[in-house]
Amino acid sequence: MEYDLKAIHLEIKAIEERVIRLKEMGSGVETIERNANAILSFIYILKKNISDIIEIAD
């Protein structure tokens, strides 16, 4: 199976931006902030797993 790593990388970036926005929108609400932080931790992992490969190619 072929994978489009660049498209996956862009999707990760887009999700990160949306989660940061979500966190700002829910600022002060524990359930939003903590869950958004948890998602950002997994985004960090995805960036290390995928985005770093794309970024060194650029």
Binding site: S41, Y44, K48, N49, I53, I56
Partner: protein
Amino acid sequence: MDRTGQYWNPFIETLPREKLIKIELKLFRVLLQWAKENSPFYRRKLHGIDPQDIRSLEDIAKVPMTEKEELRMAQEGKEPFPYGELLAVPLEHLSEFHQTSGTTGKPVYIPDTYESWQWLVEVWCYILYAAGFRRSDRVFIPFGYNVYISFWQGHYAAEKMGCEVVPGGALDTKGRLLKMKEVKATALMNTPTYGLHMVEVAKEIGLDTKRDLNIKKIICAGEPMPEPTRLRLEEEWGADVYNHIGGTEPGGWAGMCSEKKGMHVIEPYFLLEMVDLETMSKPVPSGVRGVAVITSLCRRCVPLIRFNLKDIMMVLDDPCPCGRTSIRVDQVEGRVDDLRKIRGIFFSPNIVEEVVRGGFPEVVEFETILTREGVMPVLTLRLELDPSIGENQGKWIQDRLQEQLKIKTNLTFKIERVKPGGLPRYTLKSSRFKDLTK
């Protein structure tokens, strides 16, 4: 051939080496910058070093190594308690506490944020997947869940991978064996020593670990596992046994694949260097025994840069048939701290385990003691044999062991037989070498 399902991350694990190194260098520069800005300990230590000057693997030697004693000093009496100057994030961001065992001195306290903990768990997913763990596995963890990191990472990684995790914490060994049988567990995580101890207890209660249990794979951690010990565990359990290397400070950083020929370093997330045994500063090439120095490239809350592990091992860089492009290390041959010069010969206590586990299944437990008679150092091997072994057979085993140890180490051992149950059993780190000359 599509080998995607063989890897946790097929893109990273099969990346050409030059690209792996490029990522490692980039991550190294980023980590240096982060550490200088956020860790009081590294701000001082890295003074005068510009991360942008690190352009090649050779440049990394410009950065000073980190010794365990420095970590202790950076914590002792320093704020914020108890992590002191190692901490590179605000205290309120932390979510995990672990500490080293304190075998070589005062314990070091190592925390994690949610992010850095998830990162460590992810690294263990690479390790477990390479060892054949899959979502269909029911993983039993016979580990006393506590302040030591041991199998915590493995627990959460197995859960993340979709395995079913059975925590065997509060049970005794007999209870654990019976629970494994009851739930038909397919996989295990334990120290090599405890894997053998479980076999011993199983025999006492009439269980055959190979026939009566359903364990198909075991991942070991917590202490060096010489190849004869791994093979003996495979034989006793009728399972595939995999080795892994890690520690509280760096977390898990290498693991065995199905080829079982050394352990793959989890690149590009860890940068491994090997330095010479004598000065612990000059790089040694692949195939030459040296001391391992590790940088954990993605854990930001407590940066660890060029950490001297003091583990003796060797890099294997021949291609692995599994297709992973990361370098591998062979088994840990011992620790620099345990290395002794006896009658002009370097002696590592791990050799004793290799000999004992390699050809003497009648030995249930053992320990090596170093003493002095006058000025002469004396090595004594204390042996606990299977209770069914009679006097004559016991004597024969002692003589053969003495002979084999002499061949392997060029040193003469005194052999002492200890009554059954006379030597300590270990569930975590074993301590089978005692230097009483100090």
